[in-house]
């Protein structure tokens, strides 16, 4: 009984299902919630890939913060509570063809590339510790830059979303 396979399928199904539901549901809020499921599924997949820290970061950031952020955005932009389907058959059809084409190409690439057989040994002993070491030693500069980026984003978002002061 290859539990890895089972869990892989389960989590993959949750991820893909969430994405599909997101595309096909009518109400905007439902769409956001569906996507949250996708994030969860992905987190599971990260665990399977021995990236536990990433998995928890994913849950916290994505299905926690970003989903809530999107919901706030939905609330504030006074949607019509649902996305009325727009009759743009040509556009939709072409988009479908484009996405399908891209997937086809990627799939072709995946299938024909001779991937190296992965080792069955565990990657590292302590994921968080190793990650921290790597982050503060080799990748310290990108780390700092990412911090500045977050600061900039925060300031920018605040400035942008500030209401005009009525004088």
């Amino acid at each position: 009984m290859d539990w890895t396979l089972v869990f892989f399928f389960v989590f993959a199904l949750i991820a893909l299902g969430g994405a599909l539901y997101m595309l096909n549901l009518q109400k905007v809020v439902h769409m956001a919630v569906a996507l949250a499921f996708t994030f969860f599924g992905l987190a599971g997949l990260y665990v399977l890939l021995e990236a536990e820290f990433i998995a928890f970061a994913q849950i916290m950031v994505y299905s926690g913060a970003i989903t809530i952020l999107m919901l706030y955005g939905i609330m504030m932009t006074r949607h019509d509570a649902e996305e009325a389907p727009l009759r743009r058959p040509v556009h939709t059809a072409l988009a479908f063809i484009g996405a399908l084409g891209l997937f086809g190409f990627l799939f072709y690439g995946i299938m024909t590339t001779p991937w190296p057989g992965g080792s069955t040994e565990p990657l590292v002993e302590d994921n968080v510790r190793e990650l921290g070491l790597a982050l503060f030693n080799e990748y310290v500069i990108p780390f700092e830059l990412a911090a500045i980026l977050l600061l900039v984003a925060l300031v920018g978002a605040v400035v942008l979303a500030k209401r005009e002061v009525e004088d």
Partner: protein
């Protein structure tokens, strides 16, 4: 003087150019200017005639004109006996018609333009007869056709005149195309347009006999068109819409004779092909009797004369076909004189009575005695009564037919002679002798005033010639025959001599014709109306010209219109459709472009994605990922 032959057509040309430009301001003098130019041409022609008579062969001057590849086309002049005779006849009759027109067209709005056109015609005709090669002949042939068109449609505000001009041009065009085809075939075979080269090749039997026959017949078709032979004859009677002097000059004496002249000019070609000669004779003979029969019942004085012209031209073609070269040329000359005379006299009548319908005339002898006399002379000449000119020339033709062993043609010629005498004197009696039919006509007759001198003098001159011109070639004295063949260009002429019973037959036929006409129209012993009723179908058929015009209208004209409509449809729907299609195509492409330029992000994104996918697919298929 022969080197100055080229001047002969130049004077009328100068007159034309002058009058086209200044015709309006020179109004009263226009007629005199044109007449003076033609008079100078006449004088020069007479000099040339004298010189050619003295000299032996022909005189040719050519200069190179156009070089295309290896061949050089030349232009120039050639003067031989036939040409010189034609030059003299054409310029003389033209001069008389010019003088006559001064009186006839007096007071017309476009007086100057009229004389310009007359001068153009004279130039073209004179140029035609002295052409040394087929190409030049064709050029002048077309010019003559153009002048005819301009003059027939001179009173262009009359729809019948416009239609008649168009009809004339289109019908002669059919002949012209055949002539052109024959010309090109000859050029292809011989390598030159020059008459001398062509005749040399024919005599040396360098050309395939079938080709000789073909080209001869094609050239003859050109003559059929121009000379109004069956089946291209219907334009001539309609051409009577033009002024009467025009009818006299062009459609009696000269232009229509151009067809006969052409056949005579290219005679060696015809002599080499008995088939062609038979065709010529058959068409000529048939036309002679056909046209004469129509002329029996026509009521318009000019139309009777027109059909008579067609018939007489048929006689000339008949003569050429039975190897009576001299007879044909002789008849051409005499016919020019008396037919022009008849037309001018008719013109005088029309000018006085203001109608062309002979049923509205009668008894004009008292009022216009001079005109009546000259008309009588012309009629007698045309009917072939000795000692007038027509007798001798007609006699030659009938003799040639008999001597050549063509009994059918001989019979046709004699019957046609009978018809000719009959309808001419029917005309004469109805117009001049018989009493007016009703009161209106009588009143019209009473109002007639005498005709001006410009009009009577030419008529007198032509009358004189109609009397004496016959004596140049009688059964006892073959002056013309000898003179024509002296330059060695035409074949040796066998003089038939005097055949007594034929002469008696022809004269008798003519007299019977006159007598019949007299009894029907002058004395009233035989009623024409009763005869018409008894032979009603025949009468109808003749009156309606055998319904040939209607036949042409239903077939050729309708066919041409149908083709025109078809092509118009193709032009509108297919050609323009293609053009519109291009526009639609561009608009379609534009609309696609518009769809991309909406400013909506998703549209641009879509384009990007599609482009990426396309690129990847192309790269994959191109095998880049090896």
């Amino acid at each position: 003087m022969s080197a100055w032959t080229w001047l002969i057509p130049i004077f009328p040309l100068l007159a034309f150019l002058l009058l086209i430009g200044l015709g309006r301001s020179l109004r009263p003098a226009a007629g005199y200017v044109a007449s003076l130019a033609v008079a100078v041409s006449l004088v020069l022609s007479l000099f040339v005639l004298a010189e050619v008579s003295a000299a032996g062969g022909a005189m040719v001057h050519t200069f190179p004109w156009l070089t295309a590849g290896d061949t050089t086309f030349t232009m120039g002049i050639e003067v031989n006996r036939l040409n010189a005779m034609m030059l003299a006849i054409v310029s003389f009759v033209s001069l008389l018609v010019h003088i006559y027109s001064i009186g006839y067209m007096h007071g017309d709005d476009r007086y100057g333009t009229y004389f310009a056109y007359l001068a153009l015609f004279t130039f073209s005709m004179l140029g035609l007869v002295i052409s040394p090669n087929l190409l030049q002949t064709y050029i002048f042939w077309e010019l003559v056709g153009l002048s005819s068109f301009l003059l027939i449609g001179f009173w262009y505000f009359k729809p019948q005149a416009r239609d008649a001009a168009k009809k004339a041009f289109l019908m002669t065009r059919i002949g012209d195309v055949a002539l052109f085809a024959g010309m090109i075939l000859l050029f292809w075979q011989v390598g030159s347009f020059q008459f001398s080269d062509i005749f040399a090749a024919v005599r040396a039997e360098e050309i395939d006999p079938g080709m000789v026959t073909l080209t001869a017949i094609l050239i003859f078709i050109g003559a059929v068109g121009k000379s109004g032979q069956f089946p291209l004859h219907t334009w001539l009677p309609d051409a009577m819409e033009g002024p009467t002097p025009v009818s006299a000059l062009i459609h009696a004496a000269t232009m229509v004779a151009a067809g006969v002249y052409l056949v005579a000019r290219t005679y060696p070609l015809f002599e080499a092909s008995p088939t062609a000669l038979t065709v010529v004779a058959a068409v000529g003979g048939f036309t002679a009797i056909f046209a004469a029969s129509i002329g029996l019942v026509q009521t318009d004085i000019k139309r009777v004369l027109a059909y008579s012209t067609v018939s007489q031209l048929g006689y000339m073609m008949l003569a050429l076909g039975v190897a009576g070269y001299t007879a044909a040329v002789f008849h051409l000359g005499t016919h020019a004189f008396f037919k022009a005379l008849l037309f001018l006299a008719a013109g005088a009548v029309i000018h006085a009575v203001h109608t062309q319908d002979i049923r509205e005339m009668g008894g004009l002898w008292r009022k216009m005695p001079l005109t009546a006399w000259v008309f009588l002379i012309g009629a007698l000449a045309l009917s072939g009564i000795p000692p007038f000119a027509g007798y001798f020339s007609k006699e030659e033709i009938i003799l040639a037919a008999w001597e050549g062993g063509h009994p059918v043609l001989f019979a046709l010629a004699v019957v046609a002679a009978f018809f000719t005498a009959f309808y001419m004197f029917r005309l004469f009696f109805l117009v001049f002798v018989a009493n007016p039919r009703d009161a209106a006509a009588a009143k019209r007759i009473d109002a007639v005033r005498p005709v001006g001198r410009e009009m009577t003098l030419p008529m007198l001159a032509l009358a004189a010639l109609s009397v004496v011109a016959g004596f140049v070639n009688t059964p006892w004295y073959h002056g013309l025959a000898g003179w024509l063949s002296a330059d060695g260009l035409t074949s040796h002429y066998e003089a038939p001599g005097f055949v007594g019973w034929i002469t008696a037959l022809t004269v008798l036929t003519a007299l019977v014709g006159i007598g019949l006409a007299a009894s029907m129209y002058a004395r009233g012993t035989l009623s024409p109306a009763a005869l018409a009723r008894r032979l009603e179908f025949g009468y109808d058929m003749l009156l309606n010209k055998y319904w040939i015009d209607e036949l042409y209208g239903a077939t050729v004209v309708r066919g041409a219109f149908g083709l025109g409509r078809l092509l118009h449809g193709i032009d509108r729907y297919i050609v323009e459709g293609l053009v519109a299609l291009v526009g639609v195509l561009f608009r379609f492409v534009g609309r696609i472009g518009t769809a991309l330029q909406t400013g909506k992000a998703q549209a641009s994104n879509l384009v990007g994605v599609l482009g990426l996918v396309l690129l990847l697919i192309i790269l994959t298929l191109g095998g880049v990922w090896e």
